[in-house]
């Protein structure tokens, strides 16, 4: 679906990302992880076509992204920014969603139903003023403006930063449901617990280089790879590694494994 072919990019002199080569197939949630300044957001913007590589090519369904106009891709690729306030420009949630649709769906008779569907799914109220909502609710409005197009690829740039546990879970559960319905999800994330809970695949970036790509288990059980990217594994994985246990992701699994070990000792 998405292919990076020797992609490099720099904002001024020098490169921010260097010679990236990877591909993402259909289905699943991929997390881009790395320390601050690793190039995660830049990679996500290159993927969406908001930035163009200084060398190399980004392909979307084998089409060179440089030949496509980024705004016309909104119906196929959704993008959620970390700061929802950069998108909000209308006085009600409904108008905000209609504003998104008017650029991509010429048939106005389809707009109302599409808006209602996504508002129901994300528990948003049509007449609310987006700027008066809480940070988490504004994040949901911004997510709704991307999802109202029903994109096949959804890119999330730190979707849970600044959200409380309840809002974070609410957004990620919805994203997870979308993925099960066939939407390909790529997310930039600093929270390794969220990555462990929701991602199927991980790309590890450091200093603009791709250090590794693998399943969530593979990456989190490779301490040298995580160390090279200045990252720590989720607490449960770290604890399991110290106890010599494997395949543990949750507190329940850990309790069960410890219980079994204790029973074995006795």
């Amino acid at each position: 679906m998405i292919r990076f072919d020797h992609v490099s990019f720099g904002y001024g002199e020098g490169s921010t990302v260097h010679d990236l080569c990877f591909s993402l197939e259909k289905g699943g949630i991929t997390a881009l992880i790395g320390a601050n300044g690793a190039g995660k957001s830049t990679v996500s913007k290159l993927m969406r076509g908001l930035l163009h590589p200084t060398s190399g090519t980004v392909y979307f369904h084998d089409q060179d992204m440089a030949t496509l106009q980024a705004s016309t891709l909104a119906a196929r690729m959704g993008f959620l920014f970390q700061n929802p306030d950069r998108q909000i420009c209308r006085s009600t949630v409904r108008d905000e969603l209609l504003f998104s649709l008017q650029w991509t769906v010429p048939d106005a008779s389809l707009h109302e139903a599409a808006c209602q569907e996504v508002m129901d799914a994300l528990s948003l109220s049509a007449q609310d003023d987006p700027m008066m909502l809480s940070r988490g609710e504004r994040q949901r409005v911004a997510l709704a403006t991307a999802l109202v197009h029903k994109p096949e690829l959804l890119i999330l740039d730190e979707p849970t930063t600044g959200l409380d546990y309840r809002e974070c879970t609410r957004i990620m559960e919805y994203v997870s449901r979308l993925e099960k319905q066939g939407t390909r999800v790529v997310m930039v994330c600093h929270d390794m617990e969220v990555v462990l809970d929701y991602a199927d695949e991980i790309l590890v970036l450091s200093g603009g280089h791709l250090l590794g790509q693998g399943s969530t288990e593979e990456v989190f059980q490779d301490p040298s790879l995580l160390r090279a990217a200045s990252l720590l594994p989720p607490q449960m994985i770290g604890l399991a590694a110290r106890l010599g246990l494997s395949g543990i992701r949750t507190v329940e699994e850990m309790t069960e494994a410890i219980g079994k070990r204790k029973a074995g000792v006795q």
Partner: protein, 253 residues
């Protein structure tokens, strides 16, 4: 534009001028440009502006600024030529639009003035540290620190807001708003999705900055001191005299 409004360190004669002189000089150039009616004088001031940029050791930056201003100037030139219909007709365009000698003259003078007065201001930002400017305004111009701080903060925020604007355009493009269109007229229609988020983020930033300085006791101290003191010497006097001579010449021509 973000990188065009930043301080570029250096140790040239222009960098070493007193910050007050660096503000006064563009002001004197501005007065001279508005007093003259001679196009060749305005052209001379443009050459002088570019010379100042080269003297400040930032030729690349000066040419970049000139290129950016040139785009705006071209737009204004076309607008004025199309809208000023008085004078001798030089050509007739479709829909009965006339191109006149008066229109051309006013347009050329207008854009030259625009570049002549904007370029030195942008160069001043490039060669002056804002903290030095605030200190110089307080010690040499006897401006209350509160106002000096407000002026320098406003200048310092320009690149921040430019960066914000870029981010907003990216965010709106991602949702389908055609900011990446090549058409200037289409872009002009997209002001609301750009201005509303920019206004909100600007107000939020200013409010946060105001709270932050108050928390540091900004309004409590009545006397100010500065680690770096700027001097006012012969170089500054020469520069100001040159500016005054330019004004005198502009009155003559």
């Amino acid at each position: 534009m973000k990188s065009l409004l930043v301080y570029i360190p250096g140790d040239t004669v222009i960098h070493r001028l007193n910050p007050c002189t660096k503000i006064l000089l563009p002001l004197l150039l501005c007065i001279a440009c508005f007093l003259t009616d001679a196009w060749w004088f305005l052209l001379g001031v443009l050459v002088l502006d570019i010379g100042i940029g080269f003297l400040a050791g930032i030729p690349g930056h000066t040419l970049k600024l000139l290129r950016g201003l040139g785009k705006l100037a071209l737009f204004l030139l076309v607008m004025q030529v199309l809208f000023i219909q008085s004078g001798r007709v030089l050509a007739t365009l479709p829909l009965g639009i006339l191109i006149t000698d008066h229109g051309l003259q006013v347009a050329v003078m207008g854009v030259l003035r625009l570049i002549d007065i904007t370029l030195p201001l942008a160069l001043m930002i490039a060669v002056t540290q804002m903290s030095d400017l605030a200190n110089a305004l307080v010690y040499h111009a006897h401006m209350p620190y509160k106002y000096a701080f407000a002026i320098t903060s406003a200048i310092r925020f320009i690149p921040v807001f430019t960066g914000d604007m870029q981010m907003i355009m990216e965010a709106q493009t991602a949702r389908g708003v055609a900011f990446d269109t090549k058409s200037f007229w289409k872009k002009l229609r997209l002001m609301i999705p750009l201005c509303v988020p920019l206004l909100i983020s600007s107000v939020k930033k200013i409010e946060s900055a105001a709270i932050a300085v108050e928390l540091r006791g900004f309004s409590l101290r009545t006397r100010r001191s500065a680690y770096r003191r700027t001097s006012f010497d012969g170089r500054d006097l020469t520069a100001i005299l040159a500016g005054l001579v330019l004004i005198a010449l502009s009155v003559v021509f």
